[in-house]
């Protein structure tokens, strides 16, 4: 049977892609951010996932406002990145796992999550930057992937609680999968930031740090809040923390933090990183 080895949550700021392309990992601006990943690399070497299920939000690469699914699950043999308009280098295609995709789709719809399925799906920086951060170097990806996209472009967005429950259902689906796979669940986005409006540049360190502290032990502390409240507390784009809640949901039960990092600012964003595992029974 498949086993969830843990969850990783990380920011996905596009500027990170530019920094990687220019080898700025040791630059003083970037070092506190990139240094946070060395422990995650060691953790990944230890837990050796076969597959990554990645919860992320598209920013206008694959989905436009003509058709905007609330939840979309990839079911493609591979996922390609493409030009997003402002010049970050694309990454090599990421392999999919169609059999696991359709298993997740069956289970999620069976649990009344009326998702959209995508046999062709471009994936944007919200998936490719975490891939490049977690498995740096060659682009010969050591994992297959199943992307799960959550709408954070156009309100009404799904509630934080709904995203958390989606993650719980993803977790149950993985655990019910017959193959002996090791699966890592990744949630990308956040933490607090706001790109648009007169409040642009808004960051809320106090909230972010409390959110990271509560996430493993009391995810409902954040998940029970309305989207309006979350935008007020974390910024219009800070709402991407719902990806973190979904990834946490996949772990179920109680969880512990294995590693975390938090750094302000990366571009306009408070950058967060966590690795969580289930608490041993």
């Amino acid at each position: 049977m498949a086993k969830i080895v843990g969850a990783i949550t990380t920011s996905h700021v596009p500027a990170i892609g530019k920094a990687i392309a220019r080898n700025l990992q040791d630059d003083p601006y970037w070092k506190p951010f990139f240094d946070g990943f060395s422990q995650v690399h060691r953790w990944l070497e230890r837990v050796r996932p076969d597959v990554a299920v990645i919860l992320y939000n598209d920013h206008g690469l694959n989905f436009f406002l003509d058709k905007m699914p609330t939840f979309a699950v990839g079911a493609a043999p591979e996922y390609r990145n493409a030009d997003e308009g402002w010049g970050i280098p694309t990454i090599p295609p990421v392999p999919g796992d169609q059999k696991l995709s359709w298993h997740l789709i069956e289970r999620l719809v069976g649990e009344e999550f009326d998702i959209t399925t995508c046999q062709e799906m471009l994936v944007d920086h919200a998936m490719t930057i975490p891939m490049a951060l977690l498995w740096p170097g060659t682009g010969a990806w050591p994992v297959r992937t199943v992307p799960v996209c959550i709408n954070t472009v156009q309100h009404p967005l799904p509630s934080a609680l709904r995203c958390y429950k989606l993650g719980q259902a993803v977790g149950r689906a993985i655990e019910a999968y017959e193959e002996d796979l090791r699966v890592v669940v990744i949630g990308t986005g956040g933490l607090s930031h706001q790109l648009d409006g007169e409040r642009a540049g808004f960051i809320n360190k106090t909230f972010d740090l409390e959110f990271m502290e509560k996430l493993p032990v009391d995810p409902l502390w954040a998940a029970r809040r309305s989207n309006h409240e979350l935008v007020e507390l974390t910024g219009t784009q800070g709402i991407e923390l719902v990806m973190w809640l979904a990834a946490r949901g996949a772990l179920g039960g109680e969880a512990v933090t294995v590693h975390s990092n938090y750094h302000i600012p990366i571009s306009n964003t408070a950058a967060g990183l966590m690795v969580m595992e289930r608490r041993a029974a």
Binding site: A15, G60, G201, S226, N268
Partner: protein, 114 residues
């Protein structure tokens, strides 16, 4: 249905904005293609006309003004693709919207980490 009080300086991109800004956002979405970015640069008026921008949207594009673009229904994720044509990043956009210089805006972000 009662709506919660608005958040100062914050514009939620909802159904009303999505309808209002559809043409503008559709044009910006087209800038995922380098050929389309080039076509816009060659003939900005013609390109805007082809996407059916209304007068408010056309003026906002002409002014390169983010708050005007948002008021015209623009969504920041699509607007970022337009801004990229002018070589502007999200910190330029942030500085413009808050009336700060880019250095001042960056300093504000650094201060948020203390």
């Amino acid at each position: 249905m009662s709506r919660p009080q608005s958040i100062p300086g914050t514009h939620l991109f909802d159904g009303a904005a999505a309808m209002k800004g559809y043409a503008l956002n559709k044009m910006c979405y087209s800038f995922n293609s380098a050929a389309n970015r080039e076509a816009f640069k060659q003939d900005e008026d013609g390109y805007c006309e082809r996407y059916g921008l209304n007068a408010q949207q056309r003026e906002a594009v002409r002014h390169r003004n983010v708050l005007e673009l948002i008021a015209a229904g623009g969504n920041v994720y699509y607007l970022a693709k337009l801004a990229g044509i002018f070589g502007l990043d999200v910190q330029d956009l942030g500085a413009q919207q808050t009336g700060l210089s880019k250095d001042e805006f960056k300093a504000k972000l650094v201060a948020a980490g203390r």
